[in-house]
Amino acid sequence: MTEHDDRQIRDALKQSIPPVHTELRRDLWPEVLRKLDARQVVVPWYDWALVGLSAVMFLVFPRLVLVFAYHL
């Protein structure tokens, strides 16, 4: 394949594929922030405390599992 061939293909592509405008039209930070907020699931400390307490209770009083299941 010669350089002439390459140039022909290059010219054909340049004619067929229009140039793009590379300037960003708007600030994307608000959208990035929204995406960060949407995908970050923050579990507060008291939820973790509740989960821990529940686990301890179930270990100490296994029958509580039945009561808990009944109320689900």
């Binding site: 394949m1 061939d5 390459d6 140039r7 022909q8 293909i9 290059r10 010219d11 054909a12 592509l13 340049k14 004619q15 067929s16 594929i17 793009v20 405008h21 590379t22 300037e23 960003l24 039209r25 708007r26 600030d27 994307l28 930070w29 959208e31 990035v32 922030l33 995406k35 960060l36 995908r39």
Partner: protein, 181 residues
């Protein structure tokens, strides 16, 4: 603590500064590859989100722009892979030799489609090297490969394009693309 260190520690203010500083560059790079402004905007947002998520892997003494650009390039390649054009358009070569504007436009559309049907990695290398005429080193850096590998990809892209266009009866010439029997 400098900006990049603060970013790696997850400070959102530092990340905002970096976004405002680099979003234009990431967008410009992405739009050159995908050729669609709204897709490029979405991919830029996704890139920035991934950049933040991967902040622990970034070394504060590294090149933030280059790192973000590599992530953007990978996302753009994934996008091109997912959005391959449909069935081949090259089945019926046309036999009209005149440079009729309608025929000319059709020929251009066929070339566009042939180009989009290239394997994504070849398409990206060819877009950046042949259409955008960017230096091989710059392309190689964004693709995470060597300049030699980029040249090889461009060579393969040109060879495939030439073959497909030839099968479709299209002979690319400067200023005037001919469709032959």
């Amino acid at each position: 603590m400098d900006l990049l260190q603060r970013f790696t520690h997850g400070e959102i203010d530092a990340f905002e500064t970096l976004v405002r500083q680099f979003q234009g560059d990431i967008y410009a790079w992405t739009v050159r590859i995908v050729r669609d402004p709204s897709v490029a905007e979405d991919l830029t947002v996704e890139t920035l989100w991934r950049v933040y998520r991967a902040r622990h892997r970034f070394r504060p003494d590294g090149n933030f722009g280059g790192w973000a650009r590599r992530i953007a390039t990978n996302l753009a390649i994934d996008h091109l892979r997912r959005n391959r054009p449909g069935q081949s358009f090259l089945a019926e070569p046309r036999g009209v030799p005149q440079p009729d504007p309608v025929v000319q436009r059709e020929t251009q559309e066929r070339i566009q489609q042939a180009f989009r049907r290239l394997p994504a990695k070849l398409q990206v290398a060819a877009t950046l090297a042949l259409i955008e005429e960017l230096p091989y080193d710059e392309i190689a850096s964004a693709l995470g490969t060597s300049a030699g590998a980029v040249k090889l990809r461009v060579f393969r892209a040109v060879r495939i394009l030439r073959k497909r266009l030839s099968q479709a009866g299209i002979r690319p010439e400067r200023k005037n693309m001919r469709t032959t029997t």
